[in-house]
Subunit: 258 residues, 2 copies
C-alpha cells in the first residue's frame, strides 16, 4: 500500500550543490533519494519545501515522498541516517496525509542569516557567517528593514532565473538582532554578530540574500535607509545591493497550517 | 635583526593531519611555516606548545618562531591570515623574549572534550563531538574522575609511541559538566551534552582521549568508578578504556607564568 512520508532534514550545506538534483555535483535531494533507495529499494521522487542554493544550510527543511515500504518510521529514520553523510541528518520522519505537499502546503517560511562584523572570525563559525570587516551601522539597517516589512512586489530583490509568476510576497517579520558574542558549543567568542530573521509567505529566488546584501550596503553608508522604498518601487534588481554569500543563510523553519 | 614572535592560533582540525609536520598530508605546523615563507620570504622552524593529533581542534594553540622580517605585528598577522586556509587562523601575534619557548615555558595546559549523549547529533556539532548513544551515568563518571585528580603516574592512560621520559603528571582540574542543550551561534539544540575540562602541568600522548574513553566506560557501567584507582596503579594501558575519538578534543588554553 502506498503511504506518504514527511521528513524533516537538517544539513550543513557547505559541501553540496544545494537542494535540487543537478546534472553534476552532490545535492541534498539526490542524497536523500539515494538513501531511500538503499534502505527501501524504491526509486522515489522527493519534494522539498524550499530549494536551498549551493552552500545554504538548513536547521529544518521539510521533504516528502510516497513509499510502499512496510518499514516503521523509527527504523526508516535510523536506516536513512546510517547511509546519509554526517552533514545531512533526518531529524524527524512520520506518515502524513496522502496529498501533503511540503511546498504548496507551507504557509510561511523562516530564514536566518548571520553576519560577523569582525576582524577575525572564529574558525568554528567560518562556514556559517558572512564576514564583513568595515563597521555596519545597525540603526540605519533597522530603519531600512522597516520598508521591507509587509506585502510588496520584491522584483528588485529577485535573482535572475527566478521562476515565480507573481513577485509579490508578504514579509511578516524582518528583524536584525545584535550580539556582542557568538556561542559555539562550550565557547563564547566576543565580536559583533548580526542575526537576521526573515519570515514570509514565500520567497523569490535569492530574495533573502539580496535583502541582506542591500541592508549591508545601508549599514556601510552606501545606500540611505529611505532609498529602500524607491528601490522596492523601481522593481529594478540593479538598484539593490549585491547578493550576500550563501554560507550565512539557514532555512530555519517551514510553517504549515495546523 | 633577529626577533622572536609568539603566535596564538585557532583551528578546526577536521581536515588536517595534526600539528606536527608529516611526510605526507597537510599539518598545522606545515601550513604556518608555508604561510610565513609566503609573507616574509623566510624558511623558519615553528615550535608549538602542544602536538595536537589529527582531527583535534584548537581554541588557542601557542607557537613561536624567529624572524628577521621588519613587518609589524598587525601586518604580519593580516598577511598570514590572508594566505592560511579559512579553518586555521592567527588570532594573536606579537614580539616576545628571544628565549621564549611555547612548550618548555608552559606551566599548564587545558583541554576540553565534548561527548554528545544523543540519538541524532545536530549537523553543526558533528565535527566537534563524540556521539555516544547508550545512556551515560554522569554521577559514576564524576566519582571516577576524582581518582584521576592530583599527581599520578599516568602510564595506564598513555598512548603507544609516547616519548615522555617521566609518566607522572599533575591534574589540577578534571570536571564534567552536563548540559541539557548545545548552543550553536543563534540556535539551541536540546540533548544531553557532556563537557570535560582537564587541566594539568602536561599531558602524555593520548592522555586526555584515554581518560575520556575510560570515563565513558564507567558511564556505561562497564568499569566501576573505584577500579580507576587500580587501573592507575597498574600502569597498564590495556586495563583502561578505549581512546576517545580525536574530533571531540580541543586544546583550549596554554598557560604561562606571568
Amino acid at each position: 500500500m502506498q503511504r506518504r512520508l514527511k521528513v524533516k532534514l537538517q544539513y550543513d550545506g557547505s559541501a553540496y550543490h544545494g537542494w535540487q538534483i543537478q546534472r553534476s555535483g552532490a545535492t541534498i535531494q539526490g542524497l536523500l533519494q539515494e538513501a531511500i533507495y538503499r534502505i527501501t529499494g524504491e526509486r522515489v521522487s522527493v519534494s522539498g519545501a524550499g530549494r536551498t542554493d549551493a552552500g545554504v544550510h538548513a536547521i529544518e527543511q521539510v521533504a516528502s515522498f510516497a513509499s510502499s515500504s512496510g518499514l516503521d518510521g523509527v527504523t526508516l529514520k535510523r536506516g536513512l541516517n546510517a547511509v546519509l553523510p554526517r552533514d545531512v541528518r533526518v531529524i524527524d520522519l512520520h506518515d502524513t496525509d496522502g496529498d501533503f505537499h511540503p511546498r504548496y502546503d507551507a504557509v510561511k517560511k523562516r530564514y536566518v542569516y548571520l553576519i560577523a562584523n569582525m576582524e577575525v572570525v572564529p574558525v568554528f563559525m567560518e562556514r556559517y557567517v558572512w564576514r564583513i570587516r568595515s563597521p555596519l551601522d545597525g540603526e540605519r539597517m533597522n530603519v531600512a528593514a522597516g520598508f521591507l516589512r509587509g506585502s510588496h512586489d520584491f522584483s528588485a530583490f529577485r535573482g535572475t532565473g527566478c521562476g515565480a509568476r507573481n513577485p509579490v510576497r508578504e514579509v511578516y517579520r524582518l528583524e536584525i538582532e545584535h550580539r556582542d558574542e557568538a556561542a559555539f558549543l562550550f565557547a563564547r567568542f566576543s565580536g559583533n554578530v548580526m542575526l537576521f530573521t526573515i519570515e514570509a509567505d514565500g520567497f523569490l529566488r535569492h530574495m533573502v540574500r539580496n535583502i541582506v546584501g542591500t541592508l549591508a550596503e545601508v549599514g556601510k553608508g552606501r545606500i540611505e535607509p529611505e532609498e529602500i522604498r524607491k528601490i522596492l518601487e523601481s522593481r529594478e534588481r540593479r538598484l539593490a545591493g549585491p547578493t550576500a554569500p550563501a554560507k550565512g543563510l539557514f532555512l530555519d523553519q517551514v510553517i504549515y497550517r495546523l
